[in-house]
Symmetry: none
Subunit: 82 residues, 2 copies
DNA sequence: TTCGATTTGTCCGTATGTATC
DNA sequence: AGATACATACGGACAAATCGA
Protein backbone atom coordinates (compact mmCIF):
# COMPACT_ATOMS: atom_id res chain seq x y z
CA UNK A 1 0.00 0.00 0.00
CA UNK A 2 2.46 2.60 1.24
CA UNK A 3 5.84 2.70 -0.44
CA UNK A 4 8.43 3.57 2.14
CA UNK A 5 11.36 4.05 -0.20
CA UNK A 6 9.68 5.83 -3.08
CA UNK A 7 9.89 9.44 -4.17
CA UNK A 8 6.65 10.37 -2.47
CA UNK A 9 6.84 10.64 1.33
CA UNK A 10 4.69 8.04 3.10
CA UNK A 11 2.59 10.68 4.83
CA UNK A 12 1.66 12.22 1.49
CA UNK A 13 0.76 8.84 0.09
CA UNK A 14 -1.53 8.35 3.05
CA UNK A 15 -3.05 11.78 2.52
CA UNK A 16 -4.07 10.81 -0.97
CA UNK A 17 -5.47 7.47 0.10
CA UNK A 18 -7.54 8.95 2.89
CA UNK A 19 -8.66 11.93 0.84
CA UNK A 20 -9.93 9.58 -1.81
CA UNK A 21 -11.86 7.55 0.70
CA UNK A 22 -13.45 10.67 2.11
CA UNK A 23 -14.37 12.09 -1.26
CA UNK A 24 -15.70 8.75 -2.33
CA UNK A 25 -17.97 8.80 0.70
CA UNK A 26 -16.55 5.77 2.48
CA UNK A 27 -16.91 7.70 5.69
CA UNK A 28 -19.91 9.94 6.22
CA UNK A 29 -19.80 13.57 7.38
CA UNK A 30 -19.55 13.98 11.13
CA UNK A 31 -18.60 10.33 11.42
CA UNK A 32 -15.20 9.34 12.75
CA UNK A 33 -12.41 8.17 10.51
CA UNK A 34 -10.40 5.21 11.85
CA UNK A 35 -8.32 5.96 14.92
CA UNK A 36 -4.62 6.67 14.66
CA UNK A 37 -3.88 3.21 15.99
CA UNK A 38 -6.11 1.57 13.41
CA UNK A 39 -4.42 3.47 10.60
CA UNK A 40 -1.02 2.55 12.00
CA UNK A 41 -1.99 -1.12 11.89
CA UNK A 42 -3.70 -0.99 8.52
CA UNK A 43 -0.84 0.70 6.70
CA UNK A 44 2.09 -0.53 8.74
CA UNK A 45 3.51 2.91 9.32
CA UNK A 46 4.49 4.94 12.36
CA UNK A 47 1.98 6.89 14.33
CA UNK A 48 3.79 10.14 13.68
CA UNK A 49 3.31 9.55 9.99
CA UNK A 50 -0.41 9.08 10.48
CA UNK A 51 -0.68 12.23 12.51
CA UNK A 52 1.17 14.19 9.86
CA UNK A 53 -1.19 12.95 7.18
CA UNK A 54 -4.24 13.77 9.27
CA UNK A 55 -2.86 17.25 9.86
CA UNK A 56 -2.77 17.78 6.12
CA UNK A 57 -6.34 16.60 5.76
CA UNK A 58 -7.29 19.04 8.48
CA UNK A 59 -5.57 21.90 6.68
CA UNK A 60 -7.45 20.96 3.55
CA UNK A 61 -10.70 21.13 5.47
CA UNK A 62 -11.56 17.52 4.82
CA UNK A 63 -11.65 16.55 8.48
CA UNK A 64 -11.80 18.14 11.90
CA UNK A 65 -10.37 16.81 15.13
CA UNK A 66 -11.98 17.02 18.54
CA UNK A 67 -9.43 16.51 21.32
CA UNK A 68 -9.98 13.30 23.24
CA UNK A 69 -12.83 12.41 20.90
CA UNK A 70 -11.42 11.60 17.50
CA UNK A 71 -11.08 12.89 13.97
CA UNK A 72 -14.25 13.33 11.95
CA UNK A 73 -15.17 13.86 8.34
CA UNK A 74 -16.01 17.49 7.74
CA UNK A 75 -19.71 18.17 7.08
CA UNK A 76 -19.05 19.42 3.56
CA UNK A 77 -16.56 16.78 2.52
CA UNK A 78 -18.69 14.17 0.87
CA UNK A 79 -21.24 13.87 -1.84
CA UNK A 80 -24.79 13.77 -0.63
CA UNK A 81 -25.89 10.21 -0.06
CA UNK A 82 -29.37 11.25 0.82
CA UNK B 1 -30.94 9.63 20.79
CA UNK B 2 -27.42 9.97 22.14
CA UNK B 3 -24.61 9.46 19.68
CA UNK B 4 -21.78 7.67 21.41
CA UNK B 5 -19.12 8.07 18.74
CA UNK B 6 -19.89 11.54 17.48
CA UNK B 7 -17.85 14.71 17.87
CA UNK B 8 -19.90 15.87 20.84
CA UNK B 9 -19.34 13.88 24.04
CA UNK B 10 -22.47 12.04 25.22
CA UNK B 11 -22.54 13.91 28.52
CA UNK B 12 -22.72 17.23 26.67
CA UNK B 13 -25.47 15.93 24.44
CA UNK B 14 -27.40 15.00 27.55
CA UNK B 15 -26.81 18.44 29.05
CA UNK B 16 -28.48 20.06 26.08
CA UNK B 17 -31.39 17.65 26.11
CA UNK B 18 -32.08 18.12 29.81
CA UNK B 19 -31.54 21.88 29.67
CA UNK B 20 -34.09 22.14 26.92
CA UNK B 21 -36.61 20.15 28.89
CA UNK B 22 -36.11 22.34 31.90
CA UNK B 23 -36.34 25.55 29.97
CA UNK B 24 -39.39 24.27 28.18
CA UNK B 25 -41.01 23.66 31.52
CA UNK B 26 -41.32 19.91 31.27
CA UNK B 27 -40.30 19.77 34.90
CA UNK B 28 -41.49 22.42 37.30
CA UNK B 29 -39.33 24.40 39.72
CA UNK B 30 -38.63 22.60 42.98
CA UNK B 31 -39.81 19.37 41.38
CA UNK B 32 -37.40 16.48 40.88
CA UNK B 33 -35.95 15.60 37.52
CA UNK B 34 -35.74 11.85 36.79
CA UNK B 35 -33.31 9.93 38.97
CA UNK B 36 -29.88 9.01 37.68
CA UNK B 37 -31.03 5.45 37.19
CA UNK B 38 -34.03 6.54 35.17
CA UNK B 39 -31.86 8.69 32.95
CA UNK B 40 -29.45 5.80 32.54
CA UNK B 41 -32.29 3.63 31.32
CA UNK B 42 -33.91 6.26 29.15
CA UNK B 43 -30.77 7.23 27.28
CA UNK B 44 -28.86 3.98 27.45
CA UNK B 45 -25.70 5.52 28.85
CA UNK B 46 -23.57 4.93 31.92
CA UNK B 47 -24.37 6.46 35.24
CA UNK B 48 -21.07 8.28 35.34
CA UNK B 49 -22.07 10.01 32.15
CA UNK B 50 -25.41 11.04 33.63
CA UNK B 51 -23.74 12.35 36.74
CA UNK B 52 -21.34 14.40 34.68
CA UNK B 53 -24.20 15.96 32.75
CA UNK B 54 -26.13 16.76 35.92
CA UNK B 55 -23.01 18.34 37.37
CA UNK B 56 -22.92 20.73 34.42
CA UNK B 57 -26.58 21.61 34.92
CA UNK B 58 -25.80 22.29 38.56
CA UNK B 59 -22.93 24.58 37.61
CA UNK B 60 -25.26 26.41 35.27
CA UNK B 61 -27.70 26.92 38.12
CA UNK B 62 -30.48 25.04 36.39
CA UNK B 63 -30.81 22.40 39.09
CA UNK B 64 -29.82 21.67 42.66
CA UNK B 65 -29.16 18.32 44.24
CA UNK B 66 -30.11 17.04 47.67
CA UNK B 67 -28.15 13.94 48.68
CA UNK B 68 -30.30 10.87 49.04
CA UNK B 69 -33.29 12.86 47.85
CA UNK B 70 -32.75 13.69 44.24
CA UNK B 71 -32.00 16.52 41.86
CA UNK B 72 -34.53 19.31 41.53
CA UNK B 73 -35.24 22.08 39.07
CA UNK B 74 -33.96 25.38 40.40
CA UNK B 75 -36.68 27.82 41.48
CA UNK B 76 -35.65 30.38 38.88
CA UNK B 77 -35.36 28.02 35.97
CA UNK B 78 -38.80 28.21 34.47
CA UNK B 79 -41.36 30.77 33.42
CA UNK B 80 -44.58 29.47 34.83
CA UNK B 81 -44.73 30.16 38.50
CA UNK B 82 -47.40 31.35 40.80
C1' DT C 1 -37.60 -1.39 65.43
C1' DT C 2 -36.71 -3.76 61.37
C1' DC C 3 -36.78 -4.24 56.59
C1' DG C 4 -36.61 -3.18 51.75
C1' DA C 5 -36.59 0.13 48.07
C1' DT C 6 -34.75 4.33 46.35
C1' DT C 7 -31.25 7.84 45.45
C1' DT C 8 -27.02 10.20 45.57
C1' DG C 9 -21.90 9.71 46.75
C1' DT C 10 -17.65 7.41 46.04
C1' DC C 11 -14.22 4.43 44.41
C1' DC C 12 -12.37 0.73 41.55
C1' DG C 13 -10.76 -1.15 37.03
C1' DT C 14 -10.93 -1.32 31.92
C1' DA C 15 -11.13 0.67 27.44
C1' DT C 16 -10.65 4.13 23.75
C1' DG C 17 -8.87 8.39 21.63
C1' DT C 18 -5.92 12.25 21.11
C1' DA C 19 -1.82 15.11 23.01
C1' DT C 20 2.78 15.31 24.21
C1' DC C 21 7.48 14.03 24.82
C1' DA D 1 8.76 3.66 18.52
C1' DG D 2 7.65 3.82 23.09
C1' DA D 3 5.97 6.07 27.30
C1' DT D 4 3.04 9.11 29.70
C1' DA D 5 -0.82 12.28 30.33
C1' DC D 6 -5.53 13.71 29.80
C1' DA D 7 -10.48 13.36 28.75
C1' DT D 8 -14.19 10.43 28.07
C1' DA D 9 -17.13 6.31 28.73
C1' DC D 10 -18.60 1.94 30.71
C1' DG D 11 -19.48 -1.45 34.36
C1' DG D 12 -19.45 -2.91 38.90
C1' DA D 13 -19.57 -2.47 43.76
C1' DC D 14 -20.48 -0.52 48.08
C1' DA D 15 -21.75 3.20 51.45
C1' DA D 16 -24.95 6.54 53.42
C1' DA D 17 -29.28 8.62 53.92
C1' DT D 18 -34.13 8.74 53.17
C1' DC D 19 -38.73 7.00 53.00
C1' DG D 20 -42.53 3.97 53.74
C1' DA D 21 -44.57 -0.36 55.11
Amino acid sequence: MIESDGPVPPYLQLVEILAERIERGDWQPNRPIPSELQLVQEFGIARGTVRRAVAVLRERGLVFTVPQRGTFVAPSSAASTE
